[in-house]
Subunit: 380 residues, 2 copies
């Protein structure tokens, strides 16, 4: 059981995602469901076509609510413990895709309280600074400023606190101990925090879909146990895999080891150097051997990143895979392709980010949805 | 050890207040301290002259801060679980006395969150209703509307949350388990709540004095352990005894047994009936025996209430005591004196209450201190 671990505060080992579905009691995101979605949207996002989102809870009910016209809303979040890297973008990119396809509201919680409480070395000043930087990163992906509300827990608490009390009254220490592995030495802020991650699942009187990395699933187990007794819907979730660390396909990228990740503000030179130097190769020891034996795309991080995120073209990704396996494409070539893709993405991203800088207030305070949310005090 | 129990959620048995000082590790409120205070004020409130406030933490430091001109502020609170009775008024009456003597700021926390979380049968609607009724009761004692801020946790959370996180980060489950007797079945709202009772002790950059019934002391043990590490003062506290229940001097008045208490809205007839019917007598079985043997003022609740709260005149209370002990005053006479005093107090109180009704907003939102407090977001 312990060859890998996935929890909100630790991801390590080589993750077996099929086993994780079993362990967490979630459902595989089957092709039949994706086909149903495709019938409604016309196409499927790369993350769905390539099983980056691989697991779900009640996604079938979301599809039903789409078909019967009730609709749904999206909710996801970010723990502002530092600058964001590419792996952090997955839930936001897919949320934006859903928003565009169906004109949906998106709620993005910045959990500055949780990060402050959890990190010995983070002060509230730090979490505030990261919150604002991260929020700008997120909206720059192209969210709709009148249909997206991005909020800091420490600010929006005034509208959420009463509802968080209703949640808290339903959850005892035994439960959070069992679900999150909290201990007697856990601070009482961490013990209460789960209520604030749960509250946004009750923001609208319809089902919410949470696109998130699978490590966040424990919160929704509690949410789904208590939601109906509070007169709300159980959360629906789609779970993503982790974009593997540059240095190898175990665990997830770590902020304490910058060589494992590409940050959104890494310059083209740094991107190039990191990938050339650190990206774990699935190739052979020499060019000659590689030409003869071929490489292993399953462990080649450059290929995996292209597959999971950066090579949109399904035909081209298949060519890259076969070429690499046959030894026609070398590791260095694969890396170069990735570098070009990432730098293209990041240049575009940073240009957009500059334009979004003075629009952050729209998403946080005075856009159409934000304004409505600041007027809404959640009590039940 | 267990012949009586005093905790924030249970008070029972015949309380030995000297033992409680030992058990809680507080200090006796010695005459020498009271004399020092009297030198500054000119007189002492009944509650101080008669040892109703009998115990303290760091009250000597408060006296020093008075003498050196630094001053201090007052903080106390109310759990809005129902209508208020006479026993609930003690900390507010003494707070008002201190406010008048020294022109001090008073902060009054209405802990609607805690009462909702703790009481199976209270909804947030109930705690809100009681909060507003109780707040009006409290200010009607005659507080200064520009120097008093009365707030509901569920509303003022927006200004306290960040500081409550700083507190929470310093307190773990072991501590609240040991201090409050919390269990695995305790809900996670109750586990976090102590942070919000602690935050107001950091409202000003000087010492705060908390006049409260002794059952609230556990909170200040935690506060005093962490205050200095957060750059604040340890709380000073003066602890009151409980006004004994009408029905006998054990435990405290209970909302679930209305015959044990006089409520602020009890009519003169009800006051009369309750005292005549229920007030535990220290007298003898017959008038004849009483005339011969005399009564016991230590257990006679009518006398105790006069002594602790309603007979201001020190000479008169001595006469009443001696008269009763000698059998010259009968139980019925003692009760009549008390009934007259209480009804006089309550009629005045309710007249003032009507006048204060439209001034509650001054204390909560737009008086001088309240306005300043709503503009202050406590972060450290």
């Amino acid at each position: 059981m312990d060859e890998f671990e996935v929890s909100p505060w630790n991801v390590s080992g080589k993750i077996d995602y099929d086993k994780l579905i079993e362990r967490f009691g979630t459902q595989k995101l089957e092709n039949s469901l994706l086909e149903e979605l495709k019938n409604l949207t016309g196409d499927l996002h790369l993350f769905l076509r390539r099983n980056v989102f691989f697991s779900h809870r009640d996604f079938d009910k979301i599809l039903n609510d789409l078909k019967n016209g009730k609709g749904f809303y999206l909710y996801t979040g970010r723990g502002p413990s530092g600058p964001m890297h590419l792996g952090h973008l997955l839930p936001f990119i897919i949320s934006k895709w859903f928003q565009e396809k169906f004109g949906l509201n998106v709620y993005i919680e910045i959990t500055d309280d949780e990060k402050f409480l959890h990190s010995e070395n983070l002060d509230l000043n730090d979490t505030y600074r990261f919150s604002m930087e991260n929020a700008l990163d997120i909206i720059s992906l192209g969210f709709d400023e009148d249909r997206t509300f991005i909020f800091l827990d420490s600010e929006y608490i005034r509208n959420m606190y009463k509802l968080s009390l209703r949640v808290a009254k339903k959850v005892n220490y035994s439960t959070v101990k069992a679900v999150f592995g909290f201990k007697d030495s856990t601070n009482i802020g961490m013990l209460f925090y789960p209520t604030l991650q749960i509250v946004p699942t009750f923001f609208e009187n319809r089902r919410c879909l949470i696109p998130e990395a699978i490590d966040q699933d424990p919160y929704w187990r509690i949410q789904r146990d208590i939601a109906e007794s509070l007169g709300h819907y159980k959360a629906s979730v789609i779970h993503s895999k982790f974009l593997p660390p540059l240095t190898g396909i175990e665990g997830k990228m770590s902020s304490s080891m910058p060589e494992t990740a590409i940050y959104l503000n890494d310059s083209p030179d740094i991107v190039k150097r990191k990938i050339m130097k650190y990206a774990f190769s699935g190739g052979q020891a020499t060019v000659e051997e590689h030409r003869k034996l071929g490489g292993n795309t399953d462990v080649d991080v450059a290929f995996q990143w292209l597959y999971m995120m950066f090579e949109e073209d399904d035909r081209r990704i298949k060519d890259l895979e076969q070429g690499y396996r046959k030894g026609e494409i070398l590791t260095g070539e694969m890396k170069s392709i990735l570098i070009e893709k990432i730098n293209g993405f990041l240049v575009d991203f940073r240009n957009r980010r500059e334009k979004y800088r003075d629009r952050l207030d729209r998403f946080m305070y005075d856009g159409k949805l934000a304004e409505k949310m600041w007027e809404t005090f959640y009590d039940r």
